[in-house]
Symmetry: C2
Subunit: 696 residues, 2 copies
């Protein structure tokens, strides 16, 4: 019964199936899948207007980046990237840096990384060298230095003569920055700081670019003078030789090994033993140490964390785009993939995935999330940018910091959490294809996964955000921001609402906004009241916060932020209503914000029943309204996600390309698997064949 192989093996290619051409897309033949074409033809709004809204003031930059990338093959996403090992991925990333150094891109970034709303990270595959150097290291030497220091370090940095990293986290401490253990001890004799890692847990651990690439680090260490501990400050420390790139004496550093994502990035560890740096390498804008070891503070100490704040803003404003890339892939797949003959019309044609209601519920609320995360960020980003501008002009008004910190830390957590979880759901929505690296979804998600943790763990961020409300409301603080004025009189939001209640009509976006506000107001009021009652029983504040009401704080923040996000999205539309030309577009955006709000209510509205705002029937009403809105937007799905304006060169996906080519591309990528380079898998002859031949 056994057969023997002949040497003339049949290898069938896509061309072996000529009849395939008609109904399917093909990247190689540049033929668009008719199913995708059909979707595009349904477009009833101005796509360019939407793209301009999405990118806002960065629209021109976006177009510039995109052109540079599209024109330069080295910068294209590379499908082979997914099958590379870490070494190869790193070399790939280095080549990208080389190539992009020759274009305009780095110029834009070099000047001032965070001036441009979008960083290059969202446009390129993997994580490239200099990314941390130009972002976090740059922010340290820009924001925390004296003018002289700033000129000195920025000159080196912008000319790429040094590569810096940002070393804050240690083995023992991540979230609790105040407890970091690395020391910088002032040595008056030599006018130097001596850097030490006094314990195993004080080893710096995680900094990107530290493992192999950086030759300098912005180091977060305890300032010690005459045996006194003045808490953490930033110091610039050279860590590797400029010629040989070997680590300097007293330094023990390396890569930390493989991770879920960021594998082209050399996150590293470093341990110091009596490493000396000049006193002037301390970043002295807000805290100065003079030749005599006298320490002087200037400004709000929280400004030390302004680097993290800056990065959080970037995380917050870019959350929509990572999610948008995932929606683009899963969305396109959902209209070219068909499964099951459930159409009434013609038994032979299977149904497009997106024509299943359950599938619409996977894709369209994700689009709603992209839209809200995009529109809502404008309000807080404007406040932040104005504040930065003020600071740069020399203002010493640090008051706005509080509300900025409240919203930015909260939204950082809320958006990244939502984006991450939705990206994962979108991957699942593609069935087996989503499990394939070539689909592009795995790497998008794996890289993004870090964002729920770094720059402030989401749980910690939500608590910090909650505290601004709890402290303020408890102390009867008057909130001035429009979005926050509801906090000034919480009970008014939910008491005496019988009339509104009766006529409550969730088919209007305003009613959903009301419901979200009431949900937040009632819960805040309740939490604070309960807390006050218990506090009277003399429980300590630490116990109360960490052991009794911590979970409520997290819920509280998310309720508040959901309201804020919908409010802020509406606010954006209202502010721009005159400049928006396309009425269909406006209506789609309203529908999407509406869907976002309703999805929030389906996640959790039980508290609204508790306060009497919702009555029997509301659950059904929410579900019905959602179904209607989702159904209404179904025909515009592809047109909306294609307005994110993400090119095939950016997303490298075998199932999400502009031609709607899935079968051919998936198979092509499969054939390229490194394992197919040899007929037999490595080791097979030694370990398995003998078993099959009964020799083992």
């Amino acid at each position: 019964m056994d057969k023997k192989v002949s040497k003339n093996k049949t290898v069938l290619t896509n061309k072996s199936f000529p009849q395939f051409s008609e109904a399917h897309g093909s990247v190689s033949a540049r033929r668009v899948n008719p199913d995708l074409l059909e979707e595009r033809q349904k477009c009833d709004f101005d796509q360019q207007e939407l793209t301009k809204i999405f990118y806002g003031s960065s629209y021109m930059n976006h177009k510039k980046y995109q052109k540079i990338i599209n024109d330069n093959p080295t910068l294209h996403g590379n499908p082979d990237y997914y099958d590379m090992d870490r070494n190869q991925q790193m070399i790939h990333a280095m080549k990208v840096v080389e190539a992009s150094g020759k274009t305009e891109i780095i110029e834009v970034e070099k000047d001032y990384y965070f001036k441009s709303e979008l960083s290059i990270a969202e446009y390129l595959q993997g994580q490239v060298p200099f990314a941390i150097s130009f972002s976090m290291f740059n922010l340290v030497v820009t924001n925390l230095s004296l003018p002289d220091q700033r000129v000195y370090w920025r000159e080196l940095l912008t000319n790429r003569r040094i590569m810096g990293c940002y070393a804050q986290t240690e083995l023992g401490h991540g979230s609790n920055v105040a407890a970091l253990e690395t020391t910088a001890t002032f040595d008056k004799e030599t006018d130097q700081f001596i850097i030490n890692s006094p314990t195993l847990t004080s080893a710096k651990f995680w900094p990107g670019e530290l493992g192999k690439f950086a030759n300098y680090t912005a180091l977060c260490a305890r300032l010690i003078i005459d045996g006194n501990d003045y808490g953490v400050q930033f110091f610039i420390v050279q860590i590797r030789d400029k010629e040989t790139h070997e680590t300097l004496p007293g330094i023990d550093a390396g890569d930390i090994g493989p991770k879920i994502g960021y594998n082209s990035k050399d996150n590293g560890f470093i341990i110091f033993k009596n490493v000396r740096i000049p006193r002037t390498n301390m970043m002295m804008k807000y805290c100065r140490v003079d030749r005599e070891g006298k320490m002087e503070l200037d400004g709000d100490p929280r400004l030390l964390y302004s680097v993290m704040l800056g990065i959080r803003v970037w995380i917050m404003i870019s959350a929509w785009m990572y999610l948008g890339q995932s929606v683009l892939i899963a969305g396109r797949y959902s209209v070219v993939r068909r499964q099951f003959n459930t159409l009434d019309s013609d038994k032979k044609i299977e149904r497009k995935l997106l024509d299943y209601q359950s599938h619409q519920f996977k894709i369209i609320p994700a689009i709603a999330q992209v839209v809200v995360q995009n529109l809502a960020r404008n309000h807080i980003n404007n406040i932040y940018q104005a504040y930065i501008l003020d600071l740069e002009k020399g203002s010493d008004n640090f008051k706005p910091l509080k509300v900025i910190h409240h919203l930015v830390s909260g939204l950082k957590a809320n958006y990244t959490q939502n984006s991450y979880e939705t990206m994962s759901k979108l991957r699942e929505s593609c069935g087996g294809a989503g499990y394939l690296s070539s689909s592009g979804l795995p790497s998008l998600i794996q890289e993004y996964a870090a964002q729920v943790t770094y720059e402030g763990d989401n749980t910690v961020m939500l608590q910090q955000s909650a505290r601004y409300i709890i402290d303020g409301v408890s102390k009867n603080k008057k909130y001035k921001e429009d979005a926050l004025t509801y906090l000034n009189d919480l009970p008014q939001q939910f008491l005496n609402l019988p009339v509104i209640n009766k006529h409550q009509d969730l088919s209007k976006l305003e009613s959903v906004l009301d419901a979200l506000r009431v949900r937040s107001a009632f819960f805040i009021h309740k939490t604070i009241n309960d807390g006050m009652k218990i506090q009277k029983s003399k429980m300590s504040k630490a116990k109360l916060i960490n052991e009794v009401f911590q979970q409520d704080q997290i819920i509280l923040s998310n309720y508040h932020l959901a309201y804020y996000s919908v409010w802020s999205s509406c606010h954006f539309l209202e502010k721009n209503k005159d400049s928006m030309k396309c009425t269909n577009l406006k209506s789609h955006l309203i529908d999407l914000i509406h869907i976002y709000g309703l999805m929030e209510l389906t996640k959790d509205s039980s508290i609204l029943y508790s306060c009497g705002y919702f009555k029997a029937g509301h659950a059904t009403l929410i579900q019905e309204t959602l179904k209607q809105l989702i159904n209404k937007l179904r025909p515009q799905t592809i047109s909306i996600i294609e307005s994110f304006d993400i090119s095939d060169q950016q997303i490298t996906s075998s199932i999400g390309n502009q031609y709607g080519d899935i079968a051919e591309t998936i198979l092509d990528q499969a054939r390229n698997s490194k394992l197919n380079q040899n007929e037999l898998a490595p080791g097979f002859k030694e370990h398995i064949l003998p078993i099959l031949q009964g020799k083992l």
Copy 2:
């Protein structure tokens, strides 16, 4: 300001920090972290009794497997595995097969893979060769063959003379098995079937072990006789030469490339061109083709899918263990990791993560899920095993198939979805450490991720499960299973409940069970009634199911399954109440089931307000009860998860080992990073150094 390197570099090891020893765990010194020790000392129940409950009738096998693994270093989880490329991971997997072939393990599995409740997969790192051969291929030749065929193929298989795979999915069709395109055309002249892939989308795609390893496949193809299409059947096809292991003529096969996980597994594609097999290679138990090409059916055609059913049962019964491994890692980490000085007692000691309420909400409900998924599976597994036994004895009663399919497909989806999502949350709960491959969590999750898709995509499974209820209830079918009798009179479950309502006390598990039943009953009733109303308006059934009520079907299934799971867990405890000795243990189990039920209600209870079962105040009551129960179980957390009895040799985690050693192990693993083998990263000299030196 630039410094030069000296050749005497300082490399600090863990031994450089002797003072570290006291407060920390150490794998190398076999010293248990005092924080972990403290947790263990709190244990107030019989851990072995719990372990025996968890493993049930597999307890002895479990102990046997564990011993074999612990005794054999080649079978240990290997921390270097995470830093291997695909080739190396495959070779590692082959060595595991070699080593395990010399032990008792494979003997147990060989005999009849699914007899033992636990497969070896949960005990070994990665996916090893022969796994599919011994599971799916084995099930085909065991369940779908005539006696002669069975003897022939099982002989070859159990002696490992062939390695088989299971080729069902094609590029074009996964969930819709009935639409597969590969053909097996009967050629009367030669008494053979001719296998062909008539289209590009008919290429088989995904089968594990197909890419490189298998020399045979169980092939799912359309049976064509005299131009008539008789639908899909299974055929055994040789695909590679026995001597050279090269693919046979007419066959084009290979690996499909990198994936999220399963990278040591060679999932493959295959395309056939006129490949001939003897007629007798068709699996003929339920469908026979004779020498003349006459086709004859015997038994229920759904039995063709019994292989998938068998695997679904395995997926369902093993879900708890994958989740359990993740809880073990995150749980141990949560008591040895401290962050922030928020303790009242002594300002110098930071708080254990698990002493934060929000962290308890991350860990303890996950334990509850493990417990419910473990206890609840017993009921349905018993029904399934009894049915299989009957079939083996020659029974032709196929009636139980319906309810088995209903519960198994539903629970497969419900459990894998919950486990997958919770595993991901647990990983996040470890902060940065969870992003490190060495923590073990990434690979656990990435391997598990496939389970929401394969053997029945979860969305499709939940719909199929719902249909059993919708069809049955619509037709006034009488349900006989205890767990399902509530379906016989739905309105009775939620009408006239004023008395219960007033005294409703969610601090009792029974009330939570009631609430879950009412939630399910009301929603089923409502969905069916609404559906009937619409159907009267002459909407087609396909439209109704797929475009109007599909999302409801999914909600409906999950509601029903949550009730069933809590019911079935209680049922287990009730049935075993006399044999359970430890009363504390019983009480902990009840509390955990209770937590599971309450978490379900926090996920979604709005419909309970709609039907009047819940009133204002219930939301608060649920939250309060949850807080109390979670707080009560806090001291037992580590003792419960350690009763899962998972050894350090099984879970390869730098943060979840039995010594509570995190700092030392994390740093050791980091130092082992392949990138640290050379001082400079590959490519750095060519691509980056010139930039830093201003030469580029």
